[in-house]
Amino acid sequence: MITLGDYLIVSGILFVIGFAGVMLRRNLIIILMSLELMLNAANLSLVAFSRFRVDSTGLPNYDVQVFVFFIITVAAAEVAVGLAIIVALYRARQTTDVKDISSLKF
C-alpha cells in the first residue's frame, strides 16, 4: 500500500532535484525545466494530500485538484514568457549560459 508519506517523499525528492537543477545546470532552458519540475513536485504533494484527506462525505477535496490545474496553466504561461526572454537573450548575447550573465553585481 502506498501511503501519503511515500507520495510526500517522492514529491520532496523531486522538489530537491528540481532545486539542484536550478542551482547546478548552466543552461537556462534546463533551469527553466527544473523549475517546472519543482512546480510539479508541489503539484504531486497537493494531489496526494487531496486524495488522502477524505472528509465526512468520503470524497477528497477537489478544490485543490482544480488548483493543480491552475498551477499547470500558470506554469505554462511562465514558461512561455520565460522562453521568450531566453530567446531574446540568445539574440542579444548569443548565449544561454547563466555564467555569462553576471554583469550586474555588488
Binding site: 532545486f19 547563466v98 555564467k99 550573465i101 553576471s102 555588488f106
Partner: protein, 598 residues
C-alpha cells in the same frame, strides 16, 4: 533717609565710561575731560557723604528668586566705607589729572580714560557693597579693568602677557573666594553682611567649617592683593601705564583685598586657625617681597615689590585681628605709594620711558620737584618719623610684638630690608652721576603732573598724624610697649639705610648679585614649569584623547566600521544567478531550521 549721593558716586564714572565708549572714542580730549569730571563728581559726593553722620540709600534688586536667593545691590555706609570712598576718589582724582599729562601723546587715550572711569565705578562698588555677591561682582569688574589697563599697550607682548597673567592669577584666588562665599551662604542662609554677622555665633560648633570658609574667602584677597603664593602677577602688571600702577596696583585695587578682609572680618575672626594662616601669609609676603626688591633694577618693579611687601604688612595686621591697624596702613600706603609711582612715572616720562635705575642717576638736580616728592614718599615708606608710614607701620609692629613674636621679628627684618632697598633706589636714581644720555637731557615735568605729586606728598607726609587720620579712621590703640618697638623700628631704618648708602654710594653697577633674589625666588619659573607639566600636559593629553580616541576612534571608527561592513555585505551580490539560487536555498534552510527546529 535715602540719599542719592551713594548712587551718584557709583554711577557717575559708569556713565562716563559708557559715554566715552559709545560716543567719544574719537575725541580724546573730550573723553579725558568727561572722565575727570566724573571722578570729581564722585569725589565731591564722597566728601559730602563723609560729613554726614547717618545716611542710607535705596536698594536695587539684582536677582530675587523668592525664597531661594536675593541679591540686592545695596550699600554699606559706615566709617570704614566712607573713608575708603574718600581715599579712593581722592587718589583717583589726582591720578586722573596726572594722567592728562602722562598720557598726553597716547593713541588710545579715550580707551584709557574709559577704562579708568570703569575702574572707579568698580572700585566704588567694592567699597560700598553690602553683600558678598555684590562685592564679588565689583571685585571681578575691578579685575577686568585692571586687565584692560595693564594691557593698554596691547601691542607689546610683555604688556599683553602681563594682563593675562594678572587676570588669570586673580581668577584662581576668586575660585576660592566664590567657594567661601557659597559656604558662608549655605551656613548662614544669607549673603548680606549685616544679616550674616548675627548668625556667625551659631557656627561655633563647626570650627573646621568656619576655618575652611574663612581661608577660602581669604583666597580672594590673596589673589587680588597679590599675596604669596599668588603674588606673581603684580610685578608684571607694571607693564601698564604708570598712573595705572599707581592707582590700581598700589593705592586702591590691590588694597581692596585688605579692605575686603576687614569688611568680612566677622568671618575671618571666627577662626583662630584662619587668623594665624592669614597673618603668616602676610608676613611671608612682606619678607619675601622685600628680599626680592633689594635686587631689582627696574624702578617700577622695585616699587611693585615694595607694594607687595606693604600689602603683606596689612594682611599681617588683619591676621593679627586688628582691622584698625590694617586700615591705617592701607590709608597711609595709598597716599605714599601713589605718590611714589607718580613720581616714578614723572621720571620715566622725562627719560623717554627708561625704567632701569642704572641708566638714571643724579636726577635730584634735573627733576627737583619730582625728587622732593619722591623723597617724601620714600621716607614714608621706610617708616621714617614723622612721615605717615612711620605711624601705621609702627602700629602693626607693635601689634605683632604683642601677639606673635616670630611674626614681629620677621616684620622687623622686613623693615630693615625696606629701608635698604628704598634708600638704594634713592641713591642710585637721584644721586651720583647721570648714567645715560636720556637722563642728562631730562627736565622737570609739566605742572599737570607735578601738581598731583605735591598734593599727594602733603598727604603722605601728614597722613599718619592722629589729628589728621583720626578724622578718617579708628586708629589702633597705642600699646604699653612704649618706646621699645618704635625704637627698634627706627633702629631698623637706620641699619637698612646705612647699609644701602654704604654699599651704593656712587656706584655705576650693582656690587651685590644674589641670583635667587634677582630671579624672584624662581616663582615664575616654578609656576611655568608647574603649569607646563600639569595643566598644559593634561590639556594636550585630553586634546589627543578627544581628537584621536573619542572622535577618530569611537565616532569616526564606528562610522567607518559600519561603512566597511556595508562594503563587505554588498559583496554577497556576486552577480552570478546560480550563486543567488544557492544563497536562496541556504536562506530557505536557515529559515526552516530557525522556525521549525528551534
Amino acid at each position: 533717609m535715602n540719599s542719592f549721593l551713594p548712587w551718584t558716586i557709583l554711577l557717575a564714572p559708569l556713565i562716563s565710561a559708557v559715554f566715552i565708549t559709545l560716543f567719544a572714542l574719537r575725541w580724546k580730549a573730550v573723553s579725558s575731560f568727561i572722565s575727570i569730571a566724573a571722578v570729581l563728581v564722585s569725589f565731591a559726593c564722597s566728601c559730602l557723604i563723609f560729613t554726614q553722620s547717618s545716611i542710607a540709600a535705596a536698594e536695587f534688586t539684582w536677582i530675587n528668586i523668592g525664597g531661594a536667593l536675593k541679591v540686592p545691590l545695596g550699600f554699606t555706609l559706615d566709617q570704614l566705607s566712607k573713608t575708603m570712598l574718600v581715599v579712593v576718589s581722592g587718589v583717583g582724582a589726582t591720578i586722573h589729572i596726572y594722567s592728562l599729562g602722562y598720557m598726553r601723546d597716547d593713541e588710545g587715550r579715550s580707551r584709557y580714560f574709559a577704562a579708568l572711569s570703569l575702574f572707579m565705578f568698580a572700585m566704588f562698588g567694592i567699597v560700598l557693597a553690602n553683600n558678598f555677591v555684590m562685592l564679588f561682582i565689583f571685585w571681578e569688574l575691578v579685575g577686568f579693568t585692571s586687565y584692560v589697563l595693564i594691557g593698554h599697550w596691547f601691542f607689546r607682548d610683555a604688556a599683553a602677557d602681563a594682563a593675562n597673567k594678572a587676570f588669570i592669577t586673580t581668577r584662581i584666588g576668586d575660585f576660592g573666594f566664590m567657594i567661601g562665599i557659597l559656604m558662608v551662604w549655605m551656613a548662614t542662609g544669607s549673603i548680606v553682611f549685616a544679616e550674616i554677622t548675627p548668625r556667625m555665633p551659631d557656627l561655633v560648633s563647626h570650627p573646621t567649617f568656619v576655618t575652611i570658609a574663612a581661608l577660602l574667602i581669604f583666597c580672594g584677597a590673596v589673589g587680588k592683593s597679590a599675596q604669596f603664593p599668588l603674588h606673581v602677577w603684580l610685578p608684571d602688571a607694571m607693564e601698564g601705564p604708570t598712573p595705572i600702577s599707581a592707582l590700581i596696583h598700589a593705592a586702591t585695587m590691590v588694597a581692596a583685598g585688605v579692605y575686603m578682609l576687614v569688611r568680612v572680618a566677622f568671618v575671618i575672626q571666627a577662626s583662630q586657625t584662619a587668623l594665624l594662616v592669614v597673618a603668616w601669609i602676610g608676613t611671608i609676603t612682606a619678607a619675601m617681597a622685600a628680599l626680592i626688591a633689594t635686587q631689582q633694577n627696574d624702578i617700577k618693579r622695585i616699587l611693585a615689590y615694595s607694594t607687595l611687601s606693604q600689602l603683606g604688612y596689612m594682611v599681617m595686621a588683619v591676621g593679627l585681628a586688628s582691622n584698625d591697624a590694617a586700615m591705617f596702613h592701607l590709608f597711609t600706603h595709598a597716599f605714599f605709594k601713589a605718590l611714589l609711582f607718580l613720581a616714578a612715572g614723572s621720571i620715566i616720562v622725562m627719560l623717554h620711558h627708561e625704567q632701569n635705575i642704572w641708566k638714571m642717576g643724579g636726577l635730584s638736580r634735573k627733576l627737583p620737584v619730582t625728587f622732593a616728592t619722591f623723597a617724601v614718599g620714600a621716607l614714608a615708606l621706610i617708616g621714617c618719623p614723622p612721615f605717615s608710614g612711620f605711624f601705621s607701620k609702627d602700629a602693626i609692629l607693635a601689634l605683632a610684638y604683642e601677639r606673635n613674636m616670630p611674626i614681629f621679628i620677621l616684620g622687623l627684618f622686613t623693615a630693615v630690608l625696606t629701608a635698604f632697598y628704598v634708600v638704594r633706589l634713592l641713591v642710585i636714581v637721584f644721586f651720583g652721576d647721570t648714567r645715560s644720555e636720556a637722563a642728562r637731557q631730562s627736565k622737570e615735568s609739566p605742572v599737570v603732573m607735578t601738581g598731583p605729586l605735591i598734593v599727594l606728598a602733603i598727604f603722605a607726609a601728614l597722613g599718619g598724624f592722629g589729628f589728621f587720620a583720626r578724622n578718617f579712621l579708628a586708629l589702633p590703640i597705642e600699646k604699653e610697649t612704649g618706646f621699645f618697638v618704635p625704637a627698634l623700628a627706627f633702629g631698623a631704618l637706620i641699619v637698612g639705610s646705612g647699609l644701602a648708602i654704604g654699599i651704593y654710594r656712587s656706584r655705576a653697577n650693582d656690587p651685590i648679585d644674589i641670583e635667587v633674589l634677582r630671579h624672584k625666588f624662581y616663582f615664575d619659573e616654578l609656576y611655568a614649569w608647574l603649569i607646563n607639566w600639569t595643566q598644559e600636559l593634561l590639556a594636550r593629553v585630553s586634546a589627543f584623547f578627544d581628537r584621536w580616541i573619542i572622535d577618530t576612534g569611537a565616532v569616526d571608527g564606528s562610522s567607518r566600521g559600519t561603512w566597511g561592513i556595508g562594503a563587505l555585505l554588498r559583496l554577497i551580490q556576486v552577480g552570478n544567478l546560480q550563486a543567488y539560487v544557492f544563497l536562496f536555498g541556504l536562506g530557505v534552510i536557515a529559515v526552516i531550521y530557525f522556525a521549525v527546529f528551534r
